[in-house]
Symmetry: C2
Subunit: 587 residues, 2 copies
Amino acid sequence: MAEDRNNSVGIVQTKTVRVVEAESPLKLVSGKTLGPIDVAYESYGKLNPAGDNVILICHALSGSAHAAGFNSPDDKKPGWWDIMIGPGKAIDTNKYFVICSNFLGSCSGTTGPSSINPQTGKPYHLDFPMITIVDMVRVQKLLLDKLGIKQLLCVIGGSMGGMQVLKWTIEFPQIVKSAIVIAATSKLGAQAIAFDAVGRNAIMSDMDADKPSKKGLATARMIGHITYLSEESMREKFGRELRSAEKYSYDLNSEFAVETYLDYQGQIFVDRFDADSYLYITKAMDYFDLEKDFGSLQNAFAKTKSRFMLVSFTSDWLFTPAQSEEMVNALVADRKPVSYCNIASPYGHDAFLLEPKTLGSLISGFISTTFEKPKFAKPATASAIKGVEKIKRVRVDYELIESLIEPNSRVLDAGCGDGQLLLNLQYDKNIIAEGIEVDQQLVLQCVHSGLNIIHRDIERGLGHYPADTFDYAILSQTLQTLKNPKQVFAELLKVAKRVIVSFPNFAYWRCRADLLAGRAPRTKQLPFGWYDTPNIHFLSLKDFEDFCQELGAKIEAKIPLIGNRVSPVKFAPNLFAEQAVYMTSRK
Amino acid sequence: MAEDRNNSVGIVQTKTVRVVEAESPLKLVSGKTLGPIDVAYESYGKLNPAGDNVILICHALSGSAHAAGFNSPDDKKPGWWDIMIGPGKAIDTNKYFVICSNFLGSCSGTTGPSSINPQTGKPYHLDFPMITIVDMVRVQKLLLDKLGIKQLLCVIGGSMGGMQVLKWTIEFPQIVKSAIVIAATSKLGAQAIAFDAVGRNAIMSDMDADKPSKKGLATARMIGHITYLSEESMREKFGRELRSAEKYSYDLNSEFAVETYLDYQGQIFVDRFDADSYLYITKAMDYFDLEKDFGSLQNAFAKTKSRFMLVSFTSDWLFTPAQSEEMVNALVADRKPVSYCNIASPYGHDAFLLEPKTLGSLISGFISTTFEKPKFAKPATASAIKGVEKIKRVRVDYELIESLIEPNSRVLDAGCGDGQLLLNLQYDKNIIAEGIEVDQQLVLQCVHSGLNIIHRDIERGLGHYPADTFDYAILSQTLQTLKNPKQVFAELLKVAKRVIVSFPNFAYWRCRADLLAGRAPRTKQLPFGWYDTPNIHFLSLKDFEDFCQELGAKIEAKIPLIGNRVSPVKFAPNLFAEQAVYMTSRK
């Protein structure tokens, strides 16, 4: 662990502060009251004079206030998110003042079922009132009040921590400048509730009147662990390995490595966690339902004022990418600034504790571009703009597209690559920009440029956004690469008032010449072989115009282009244009 | 249930027969011995005089011998697979003699841990010896010997029943004419073992010295139920519905519908099942590992003599489609006759009990084409052959392709559609046919034609088959629709000695004429618009020849074609051919 200590926050103490007195108890969502309430917390870094560098960390089910550093020099393990928090790390304690508190109902210093009930002098046990995620967030707010914190640069949390983040943006919109919601959901689905319910069932089956369950808690934790990992990561980590033998023992003892791992996880958990807390916390998770609370996700987010970044993991089957996407869609429909990345990871739900590189890059890029306005250098000329590496796009159409867009518009760039066009438009036209991009590396690049960027394949559909969510949608050099160009174009025509499309002209004379020579065409705009081209649909200017006719799209502008010459082709464009830019709208 | 009784096998009795006497106990795989052994079984339909119409059903974890019909006139529920077994049903008791027995170690009539241990006069409980899937199958064989059954037309089973089927084909290859393996696996992965282990842990935590667990068994069953359903089906069935209230109760009682469903499933299970049996059976499943037993799956299947059909379900995350595909690949590599269908179903692992239509059609088609040689009517002329509806393929190249193939060859048709070409080849050239097709309906059609058909997207890879598994691979009118034609063609060149390719010629003069008119081409061979064509790569004869050069493929035959004229184009084929057929091989 020596290397950890080099960029560690060092030795930290968990402090405890009373935020609710017994005489004036807190009214909970359930209607019951609770007091006194103590909160355990840790902090790292320094509050700056402006008081605008505070980052609040919300922990997950079994976490604690001890997020980073070591509680004593002999500690073998650092805090639960030490990979993210520290000097020079993603959540940089040289720049930011970081606070993490143990939430209400837990068992690591903050009041919960294992705390002493002042009315009986004994632990609450099952007399503890039911709590909700909102109750937890309100108690966190009381802590910040005590600490004199008036604004939050960012609230961050993974899993159930992400649920708290969501509630922060909704309960205290004025305070939360930005929010990072990782591997979370706006509501548990039936399967996740089912796993929680079986865990609670195991605990309740093993409970004496006065003694919290041990065996049941171990079973519950074992179930939990399976859901935190992915099938793939379990296969990689354990496979069918036997713990210590080559041959089966033909008895009922645990002999597969995965069995002994789960046995161990169950055992160490009962030593550090309280079975009653497990019951209350899982119930709070099951109760969490933004749609139920507000009628719809769009309503839930309507009054938020934060910049959002949501992150999911491809292999997370507990709180799935689809659940994050639902929230992203609601935020876009609400016209809120939102970024989203679905990180390719084999580690399942636990990836939020195990993907320091990609997740760290997203977090640091998002927070720093929220904290400081990103620097922007506008390229000198259109010809100097470099396309992205992976699919070489021709970006000579950028200036033309810019010329079509009114200042202060809301613009969606569908397939925005590194986001250069949106950055140009932000700089020149002060637009509100939203990008969509399928490549994870480019999404990271956009986040570091301070863009709102959604990680998505546009072919998976945009149809759920309300009509006219955007003033403009741009589809630059992408139409011909789509599997279903008709669906994408029709959806863009719905979600934006105007759709700007650019594509290579397949009827360009050089293409025709190649075909006359008996080969599939290769030109500067179409440089690929027939078998490896990303351009899987070939169309000409005339084809596109027929297409608009069929879809009921009105052509508002048409600009055929040759090479880097920005001046439109005037003579026989279907023959001489290498590419074309069209602006269209619904009729 | 009245409608069930109309095509029901009616009232049936579970019989019990002693297959092993106490004096000559059975030696088990573990090395221990067991005796006496009684087996409970049911049978439906009649054994025909030839004795060649016997179907053996193998049941899953919690099943019994009672697969169909009713045990008494008052029975509310029929046997566990009554949707499949009965007069006129998929497993037609008018034609076949159907047997189902309770397996060794279970608790519904066959000897298991709840049976009386003759040495103590008390139930075996944990003194019962460990059993394996092979032990179960050997006991089933003893039952068939008692009944005088000498051959099996088909052995069928889902889930753990499928494991028994696999062992039947390996242990008794001479007897098993065909095998249907549904939602099964050749070995459990780490995640599935983990779920079993947690269930066993819950049971063992709740066990008295002499009394099998009740609460623990309920917990184990609840976990099991989650794994049998899919996330999607749980969402559809339960969502976040509350059992009886509109509002949360804010207590620890079960209140979500999914919770009360699981509570109920747990409760009814403990009334009908034995916790000890649950321990032994899940352990037998965990031990099952054909690769470990034989070194590789290919070795495991090497000596089988059965026709195989494997079936998986898209949403099954317990025993996944990928696990079925592994077995299919091994069987193909072994040059065994195998069909496979991955049924699109939202019902998860339990789909084998819930998809009577598609699964029933597969089962009836497979068994009847095994039982009776399928009728084959060869179409009169090439022009009369109708292409499949979904993607209209031009099949005028069939006769030409036939002319290139030597009799008695092993032929793979990659993208075989309804299998007409393979059927022609079977009829005319006596080939050993294997088809691959991505469309489920067409796969069903092929099964009913008695073809060996694998349900798969060829772009997902064929590279794992050994080199030269086939004498010929055919890629008819498919190359231009592939995302990655290079990979597919290269893989086919490896797995087959010769690859026959046909495709539309994009340099055909009508295409050129269209392009000169400034539009993407539409011809009889290329009848689609630019935006909805399945032809996403355009190539000419010259392009294909360059491509062969690049991939190191030798062109052994080249036949350009116009319309229905089977005589090859002689003059300027790259210009005048509408399509072409090539035969190629590795250099």
